[in-house]
Subunit: 176 residues, 2 copies
């Protein structure tokens, strides 16, 4: 198993606000063995994600189903989308996903971080998150936020995320 | 002093993802007396905000100055911008501001909520926040989030915002 470094053009630092980096496919893990099959695992940035593939991935981790039309709108209006995938029997399989909303300038918020259960424990979540941070930093975004369920707080802490710094509290409003 | 109700066309519920409501001017408080002057206070939605006016307002509450170019990008890429203003000696004065990033579908995050110190205590902050919630709900956005400094947590609680519901924690990543 080999983790490949992902290099980007330093000119991306000077990107205009509406110009988005798009990377179709970067090899992440070469010759990974799963169920007696040797597969390669890839990462892509701001590339189209099939809505049904995403639904399947979210089903696999037991998330509540969401209307596909709303998911489509959410993806269209996300600042950054990272997906991780492989090919099994020549069929593309989505195995990791995360997205971020942002003002493209100061702040970003990460949503819907998910790794398929069959591929958890390989460090893919860490690669996914580090890639998100790297991409947001290319735009000089300095406040990267997320809302963590209790069972993943430790994971995000290891990546350098802080809880309630200087007493700042994440707050939620939900419709009744 | 009269607070006016703001009514919107129910068709806004069917808005397309890239179509934004734009309201130039709604009378909020009529005949408000300040420094022996009678003024009217207005609210506007997704209308252009002068960057220097915004800087002046942020200066008034002691916020750290931010590069205007970055502020411009942030406004351009905000999903919702609410501003409150009045006219003093025929000159428009920005006295309240808030904005939100969003995926236009499920989630929104509110940033930069500010009311000019001379106009605090009138309930304008509450009007501003309720208007943000109302606007986001028109798009059926159900998770409305923000990050509150310790001194304003009580204010947001009164508006129905919850801290750490079900143990979900707001987390931050900052560059070292």
């Amino acid at each position: 198993m080999v983790f490949w470094n992902i290099f980007f053009n330093p000119n991306h630092n000077n990107k205009k606000s509406n110009q988005k980096l798009n990377i179709e496919k970067v090899l992440l893990i070469k010759n990974f063995s799963q169920n007696n099959k040797i597969i390669n695992i890839y990462l892509s940035i701001n590339n189209e994600v099939n809505l049904y593939d995403l639904e399947k991935l979210c089903d696999a981790v037991g998330w509540v189903r969401r209307p596909l039309k709303k998911v489509k709108t959410a993806l269209e209006n996300s600042f950054l989308i990272i997906s991780i995938f492989c090919y099994i029997n020549n069929k593309k399989k989505l195995i990791g996903f995360a997205r971020a909303t942002s003002d493209n300038s100061f702040n970003a918020t990460i949503w819907d971080v998910v790794i398929h259960p069959d591929f958890q424990g390989l460090g893919l979540g860490k690669v996914l998150m580090n890639q998100i941070i790297k991409q947001l930093r290319l735009y000089d975004i300095s406040t990267i936020t997320l809302f963590a369920d209790p069972q993943v707080i430790k994971f995000y802490r290891h990546l350098g995320f802080l809880i309630d710094p200087d007493g700042v509290k994440g707050m939620f409003w939900y419709p009744l």
